[in-house]
């Protein structure tokens, strides 16, 4: 990837307030039959107050909200995990919806940064951009494109295999399957929240019978429709023993709020934009040496004590790219 591509990657997405304002202007024009030019609404402040109201209604401390348009000094006050997740849910509902077809792919571009952490002091720091194409209904082989380990200037493609071709479509774990099943799973898992936290299983073969903080991070790491993403955040807002770090950073070094839960010798943090509360990505931190084997050994960050992932772009693709 070239420097110009990277410059695009560093542009943050528009704030939900800007998106909502633009949409409102468009629908005003549409309702008017396109006859007159709707004046720009200066509602960013009002919408921000509206978002803040969601938090206030939950009995939380008021927090300054700021869109990407900036302006004015920022003030950050201590917040609870419940507040952050309630606000993140409100913001998620304003995100655009993609409507992928079953025969398409969801494309996710992300930056992964890793470092020594406290369990791997000799692991050098690294960072790379990855692209993933995942079948919407799980019927097709996907693709992971990342810099080659031995020749980082080149890209290497790794197929994402269909795990069980005998399973009915949409296949478990696929986007369509999640859209259909996740609302019911969230209801089923809700009573489990008051029980002791389930053991951490950072592998990919988690049963869907019990919820886990790690599993939930997998769900939000890809694409979920806005309403469903909001439901996940609302579910997580009821999780006890979640800590807040207001001085975290994401894989690009941007300031973030981290919601943290330790389990099974590791910590997984969900990272949210400190100004807009939009979900940014995650940070995985080993608290004890990780056992050998598992899914990690072939990846560049293998053996690192800290791995951060930031989502840069999610869109729908009709087909896989030609092989690099």
């Amino acid at each position: 990837m070239g420097e110009l591509h990277r410059m695009y990657d560093e542009v943050p997405p528009p704030s939900p307030v800007v998106l909502a304002e633009g949409r409102a202007r468009l629908t005003d024009l549409a309702r008017d039959g396109g006859r007159r030019n709707p004046r720009p609404r200066r509602t960013r402040g009002l919408l921000a107050v509206g978002l803040a109201g969601v938090v206030t209604a939950a009995g939380a401390v008021a927090i300054a909200v700021q869109g990407s348009d900036g302006g004015g000094a920022r003030e950050f006050r201590p917040v609870s995990a419940h507040e952050v997740l309630t606000r993140a849910a409100a913001v998620a509902r304003l995100e655009p919806e993609l409507h992928p077809r079953p025969d398409q792919y969801l494309y996710v571009r992300s930056v992964v940064a890793w470092g020594p952490g406290r369990t791997a002091p000799n692991k050098p720091r690294g960072q790379q951009t990855r692209e993933r194409w995942v079948s919407v209904d799980g019927s097709r082989t996907g693709l992971l494109r990342a810099p080659c380990r031995r020749q980082p200037a080149k890209s290497c493609d790794t197929p994402i295999a269909v795990e069980d071709r005998s399973a009915p479509l949409p296949r478990p774990g696929s986007h369509l399957w999640l859209v259909r099943q996740l609302p019911g799973l969230l209801k089923r898992w809700k009573p489990q929240l008051d029980a002791p936290a389930p053991a951490a299983t950072p592998g990919r073969d988690r049963p869907f019978g019990t919820w886990s903080w790690y599993g939930m991070s997998d769900f939000v790491q890809g694409y979920l429709p806005p309403g469903l993403r909001a439901q996940v955040f609302e579910f997580l807002s009821g999780v006890p023993r979640v800590k807040v770090d207001e001085h975290a950073t994401d894989a690009l070094g941007r300031p973030a709020i981290a919601l943290t839960q330790n389990s099974g010798g590791a910590r997984l943090e969900l990272l949210f934009d400190r100004a807009t509360y939009r979900y940014l990505g995650s940070r995985f931190l080993d608290l004890t040496p990780r056992p050998n084997g598992g899914d990690w050994t072939d990846e560049a960050e293998s053996g690192a004590g800290e791995v951060k992932t930031t989502i840069l772009q999610v869109k729908v693709a009709d087909r896989l790219p030609s092989r690099s």
């Binding site: 420097e3 110009l4 542009v11």
Partner: protein
């Protein structure tokens, strides 16, 4: 082509919006983030915030002229956005020059966070920004549409209303100029080793 494709294609949304104007908002929901990213990269975030809506308002008014052979409206929207950018050409050039001079990137994360300055000051960014400010408009359009990663050369041609061959020749000339300005480095093709440090 299945009925489902027509149901969800951009073309279908635009056709439906002729009977039900508010249906056009689905196109906004689908493409607004990509168009905002493009506008912000070239004009900074503040102006992008304003021109995002303007792009879609123009598209709405021009929807009767939409080419019904095109399922994907993204090239059309990029074309409208590029025309709007053309109206702010001096502003864009000033931004690239300022970035060359100060290293601060007005399109990236907030300057008050300090990270944008730190990131932009690294490596080839100032030279890259200076070279972009000196490119002819048509070449800059093609280069930055290519870098956006959303469009093929044919789609860029459709966006700008020029032949695909013109896109290739403009891109080739732009890359040559950029390489000359950057000491042989192609800004569309830099090795990942810079990220691994």
């Amino acid at each position: 082509m299945t009925a489902e494709v027509h149901q969800h294609s951009d073309k279908a949304i635009i056709e439906r919006s002729r009977r039900d104007p508010e249906a056009f908002a689905a196109l906004y929901d689908r493409h607004a983030p990509a168009i905002h990213r493009y506008l912000a990269r070239r004009l900074g975030r503040d102006l992008a915030d304003d021109l995002l809506a303007e792009t879609f308002l123009r598209a709405f008014r021009q929807r009767d002229r939409y080419n019904p052979e095109r399922l994907n409206a993204l090239p059309w929207l990029y074309g409208i956005a590029t025309n709007l950018i053309g109206q702010h050409r001096r502003h864009e050039v000033r931004l690239w020059r300022a970035m060359a001079r100060t290293g601060a990137d007005p399109a990236a994360i907030s300057a008050d966070e300090g990270v944008a300055d730190r990131v932009a000051a690294q490596g080839v960014r100032p030279d890259l920004a200076r070279a972009l400010s000196r490119l002819e408009r048509g070449q800059r359009d093609v280069l930055l549409l290519t870098a956006s990663g959303d469009l093929s050369p044919a789609e860029i041609g459709a966006a700008l209303g020029v032949a695909t061959g013109t896109v290739h020749s403009r891109l080739s000339r732009a890359r040559t100029k950029m390489r000359e300005a950057l000491g042989g480095i192609d800004p569309l093709d830099i090795g990942e080793e810079q990220l691994d440090g």
